[in-house]
């Protein structure tokens, strides 16, 4: 497939790996955070750590909207669809298996009779609303800036066509705010919770929307280099090389590796649609990062009619995660999945206890699925065999 295969080419990969081996100075560590969950997935799916010298460490960031959604917000969606039989909750596939309070998921709610439907796109949710005029379709909107413009267009379309039985439960969040929160964690704050990040591998498609200029605060305010990386493994490798070079030269610039899709100012049309429909929430809670000011979007007054939280009087109650679940620390990059006692023992993709294990881009799921750990493999396999036999019986 054009513009995909070329960026997975083994020959070029070997060349980039050689350059990294040659240019990474042996006398220092390079701690690079890949902010975006999609990059975490790519890193493990292609085995990128195998090509890196030992002193380049990749730290996994919170750029997975499924992972950072607080349990209390998921509980609201589950309560909504269970308490309101007229509601059809239309959700992206990722959210259906995330455990909320009491480990209840939307899939379980569906098994119990709630009308939860998986959709690929907000336009599928609009189609559901048109096809079911006597029902209320609520679209579970999640995602960073990549996914927000489609939701905005969905609301604009609903208004344009007078689709009264459609509304959005909005949980869209913002990348720069999260990056600031990561950078604001003071080193040495709590034992085991310190974080040192030398530079960021910046998100591919968030940047398509917001533009590379949106990250200038990282260089200006925090003196950390950012390289915006494309989605394919060669993009990630080249971006790591660009970061290594910046750090070697003592620079802290915003560089764009993904020039085939990202521009300095981003997609103006998309930004305009978002500005029209959404407004900044004063504060929003993030799993792992706590409450961050101006980090999430709500629906603006002009479009309040399409706000599910208003229409259904939805109320947020903060909820705690499973005892022992280290998702918060993993999402901050402070701990690795293998540092969590539940990892691969009681918390597995089949029975996830936290969001990091559910979403394929969660670090725990990536570690587990692509096997970047080896310690508990035997036990895991034995458990899996038992589960698999039970499932097939």
């Amino acid at each position: 497939m054009k513009y995909i295969d070329e960026f997975r080419d083994g020959e070029r990969a070997r060349g980039l790996a050689r350059a990294l081996q040659a240019e990474a100075r042996p006398d220092r560590q390079y701690r690079l955070m890949e902010f975006c969950g999609g990059h975490t997935h790519a890193v493990f799916r292609y085995g990128i750590p195998d090509l890196l010298p030992d002193n380049i460490e990749l730290i996994h960031g919170p750029g997975c909207p499924v992972c950072v959604l607080p349990i209390g917000r998921l509980d609201m969606a589950i309560r909504l669809v269970c308490d309101h039989p007229e509601v059809i909750l239309a959700s992206y596939g990722d959210m259906l298996r995330v455990p909320g309070s009491k480990r209840r998921t939307l899939l379980q709610a569906r098994a119990d009779g709630a009308d939860v439907r998986m959709v690929y796109s907000v336009s599928d949710a609009l189609a559901l609303a048109r096809a079911n005029p006597q029902r209320q379709v609520v679209f579970f909107g999640i995602g960073f800036e990549t996914t927000t413009p489609p939701t905005a267009l969905g609301i604009l379309e609903a208004q344009r066509s007078g689709l009264d039985n459609f509304s959005v439960f909005c949980n869209h969040v913002l990348t720069p705010a999260a990056m600031k929160a990561i950078l604001n964690v003071p080193p040495g704050a709590q034992p085991g919770e310190t974080l040192e990040v030398d530079g960021f591998i910046g998100p591919s498609h968030v940047s398509v929307i917001i533009g590379s200029d949106a990250y200038s605060f990282c260089a200006g305010q925090y003196h950390k280099p950012v390289v915006i990386a494309g989605f394919e493994p060669l993009d990630v490798l080249q971006s790591i090389l660009m970061l290594v070079r910046q750090l070697n030269e003592g620079r802290a610039d915003i560089e764009n590796q993904y020039t085939r899709a990202v521009t300095p100012t981003g997609n103006r049309k998309a930004q305009a649609a978002v500005a029209e429909v959404f407004t900044l929430r004063p504060s929003f809670e993030w799993r792992g990062l706590g409450a961050i000011p101006e980090s999430a979007l709500g629906i603006s007054d002009a479009y309040k009619a399409y706000d599910a939280e208003q229409r259904f009087d939805m109320v947020y109650t903060a909820a705690a995660g499973t005892k022992g679940c280290e998702c918060p620390a993993v999402l901050r990059g402070a701990k690795k999945p293998t540092d969590c006692k539940l990892f691969a023992t009681t918390c597995t993709p089949e029975s996830p206890l936290g969001s990091c294990m559910v979403s394929d881009e969660g670090a725990c799921a990536a570690y587990f699925t692509y096997g970047r750990f080896r310690q508990d493999a035997e036990q895991r396999k034995a458990e899996q065999r038992a589960q698999h036999k039970a499932a097939r019986a």
Partner: protein, 83 residues
């Protein structure tokens, strides 16, 4: 960030809709966020929406840069071996 892939526009339906192909799988997509599209253009597709046009010239430049890095590092390795 989120899962998005380059697809090729095969047909323009109206101002906001087009058909796009990913390896032969053709899907109707929303193009409201991207202007001036033509058949044959590549766009980045995310949850059914085109987010931007793919700049093919830049793509080629990136690939060439990667190949050049490879050539340089190979030459460096060879020269290290000689010494």
């Amino acid at each position: 960030m989120c899962l998005a892939i380059p697809v090729r526009i095969t047909e323009l339906l109206d101002d906001n809709r087009a058909l796009a192909s990913a390896g032969g799988i053709v899907r109707e997509i929303d193009t409201a966020l991207v202007d001036d599209l033509q058949v044959g253009d590549y766009v980045i597709l995310h949850v059914g929406y085109a987010l931007s046009k793919l700049n093919e010239a830049e793509a080629e430049k990136t690939l060439e840069a990667m190949a050049a890095i490879g050539a340089t590092s190979e030459a460096m390795e060879v020269s290290h071996e000689i010494h």
